[in-house]
């Protein structure tokens, strides 16, 4: 029983603590939710409520909030959420007020003509021959389209969407009327909007190009080639798909109107054509340089010969001077040597005398030591010297004075 009671208290404490923390969190979140509320449209709130809410990002939008916003604006279809599936799509369809999306609807591809540049990648990719590019715009044949999505994945402008068949047919039928760009919600276009009819071509600004060949590797039409570490776009085969521009790490490839690109390319060609004239000028200059070199060579030879003669003369004179100086130096050395020897002799004699004197001093000192029992440099005893010591102390001082 005692053991049970002890456990009960601990359990109660733990439960209380976790419970209170949870309660506080709930209250704080509740308050924060109302204080920091961002006013959103009621419809968008309802759409958001239908979504699963785990922010997986599978829809391609930043979290469920982003997806709800996109669906609310009409940018995304009601079945954008892949995790939610048809159930969530039906609920959102109800909120948005569009017709309920039937489950067995086939999926078809549809091309947003405003973003299509007619690069024909979709036509090449389609395994069922359902996409055709006519007048630089791609069209999907909805009868043969299988909804496999290969064209949508390949499109560099992301201009193809997969949607339910009914919606696709609806948009397809509405096409001739929806020519005004205002009908499309404002998306951020990757390429500049093309004026009606002018195709886009890629052009490489060579001054920033480093020759990394990423553009060449990624061009689906083999229209870019790198030579001498500079990339060039073949204006005829370029389809204006923009893949090279997006891959360029130096951002030096620009998509521009075909006429402008052609003008710039022509300028380059002109510069290249001018190269032969440059070469000719270079050759002439080279010849002149050669001639000048030859002449200069001759002059140099003549100057060398003269310099040689002069050098010989100078050498001879210098040799004579050197001889004279050497003789004088030898004489001086002799003189100095003899003087030095004499000085050394004299010094030796002095040293000998001093040594003899020093010996005498040492002998005397030794005699002193023997007499008094301490060296001449020893300190006198501390305090008043005794009678005996006073006499010896005076003697030593007298001797020092001497």
């Amino acid at each position: 029983m005692i053991v049970m009671a002890f456990n009960f208290v601990a359990v109660l404490k733990a439960t209380l603590v976790v419970g209170i923390v949870g309660l506080l969190i709930g209250i704080v979140l509740g308050f924060a939710g109302s204080i920091f509320e961002v006013k959103k449209d009621e419809k968008e709130e309802k759409i958001r409520a239908c979504l699963p809410g785990n922010n997986c990002g599978g829809c391609g939008y930043p979290g469920c909030d982003g997806c709800a916003h996109a669906i609310f604006l009409g940018e995304a279809p009601v079945n954008q959420c892949p995790v939610g599936g048809p159930k969530v799509a039906a609920e959102i369809a109800k909120v948005m007020g569009v017709a309920d999306v039937p489950k067995t609807e086939a999926r078809k591809a549809y091309v947003r003509k405003s973003d299509c540049v007619g690069c024909t990648l979709c036509e090449k990719t389609c395994a069922f021959d359902s996409v055709h590019v006519v007048n630089k715009k791609a069209t999907v044949d909805l009868d043969t389209c299988k909804g496999c999505g290969a064209c949508a994945a390949k499109c560099p402008k992301k201009a193809i969407d997969l949607m339910d068949e009914s919606k696709a047919r609806e948009l397809f039928a509405a096409e001739p009327k929806a020519a005004a760009p205002a009908a499309e919600p404002a998306k951020a276009p990757e390429a500049k909007a093309a004026p009606a009819g002018e195709p886009q071509k890629a052009y490489v600004h060579k001054e920033n190009c480093v020759g990394c060949t990423l553009c060449q590797k990624n061009c689906p039409f083999d229209s870019v080639h790198v030579e001498n570490r500079k990339a060039t776009v073949n204006q005829e085969t370029c389809m204006g798909c923009g893949v090279c521009a997006s891959k360029c790490p130096k951002k030096t490839i620009e998509l521009m109107d075909a006429s402008k690109a052609k003008a710039l390319a022509d300028q380059e060609a002109a510069a290249a054509a001018a190269a032969p004239a440059v070469e000719a000028v270079k050759a002439e200059a080279g010849k002149a340089v050669e001639a000048a070199k030859a002449e200069a060579g001759k002059a140099v030879e003549a100057a060398k010969a003269e310099a040689g003669k002069a050098a010989e003369a100078v050498k001879a004179e210098a040799a004579k001077t050197v001889e004279a100086v050497k003789a004088e130096a030898a004489k001086t050395v002799e003189t100095v040597k003899s003087e030095a020897t004499e000085a050394v002799e004299a010094a030796k004699v002095q040293v000998a005398e001093t040594a003899a004197k020093a010996e005498e001093v040492v002998e005397e000192a030794v005699k002193e030591v023997k007499m008094h029992g301490r060296t001449a440099s020893a300190r006198p005893l501390q305090g008043a010297p005794g009678k005996k010591n006073k006499r010896e102390h005076a003697k030593s001082i007298n001797q020092k004075r001497v």
Binding site: G22, I25, G53, N54, V83
Partner: protein
């Protein structure tokens, strides 16, 4: 690799082990994979405790899926998983102290293991208790097998042991590669194993394509 079984229970287990292996295929829950695979015994310990927590939490969440309101779903799951992890922590501290010491802070980190919360979100709150239990078993065993493979490679090649038993002695022919035991080794072994799995998948996908094409031609 794409075999399907009749019995949904067995099929779900097979799914977790092979088709959607959390480490090699889905590449989630990587933190313990890299951290505890220095020895095979650590790996088994971590794998089994994660499996236990996964099975229990899947079952409880599946049982409560109609009751938990939508707004507090995530916190509720987290509390359930955290409770089981704390219990597991206590049991390991009491009954397997050496394992507890070597796993250290990674036992409480089972709570935020992406596998557990991910499966709770994706599977347990939509399926019955029976199938959620199967999913827990499958994912857990798949995770454990992956841990075992990686730790065996690291321990045998890096330290010459397996489960602490010496396998070979260092000789002129082959000496243990120390880097495999340290942090870079974990990344390297994982990279090579996932590349091997990719190659296997690529080869088997190609084979499937060829078979399908042959079948279409012949039909």
């Amino acid at each position: 690799m794409n075999k399907h079984f009749e019995n949904p229970f067995i099929d779900t287990i097979y799914n977790g082990i092979v088709r959607e292996n959390p480490t090699f295929v889905m590449v989630i829950g990587m933190c313990p994979v890299l951290a505890v695979t220095t020895t095979a015994s650590n790996a088994i310990g971590m794998g089994l405790s994660t499996t236990a927590v996964l099975i229990l939490s899947n079952m409880i969440i599946a049982a409560l899926r109609h009751i938990i309101p939508d707004g507090v779903r995530m916190p509720a799951y987290i509390v359930i998983v955290a409770t089981f992890v704390t219990v597991c922590d206590f049991l390991m501290e009491a009954y397997t102290p050496e394992l507890y010491q070597s796993l250290g802070v990674y036992i409480p980190l089972i709570v935020v293991n992406c596998i557990i919360l991910g499966r709770a979100e994706a599977y347990a709150n939509k399926n019955t208790v029976y199938l959620s239990c199967a999913d827990g078993i499958g994912m857990g065993i798949g995770f454990t097998i992956a841990l075992l493979i990686i730790s065996s490679v690291r321990e045998i090649l890096g330290a010459g042991e397996w489960f602490g038993n010496p396998i070979y002695t260092a000789s002129d022919f082959f000496a243990p590669i120390e880097i495999l035991i340290k942090s870079p080794g974990a990344f390297l072994v994982l990279a090579v194993l996932i590349a091997a799995k990719n190659k296997w998948k690529w080869v088997s996908d190609k084979k499937m394509e060829e078979d399908a094409k042959k079948a279409i031609r012949e039909s």
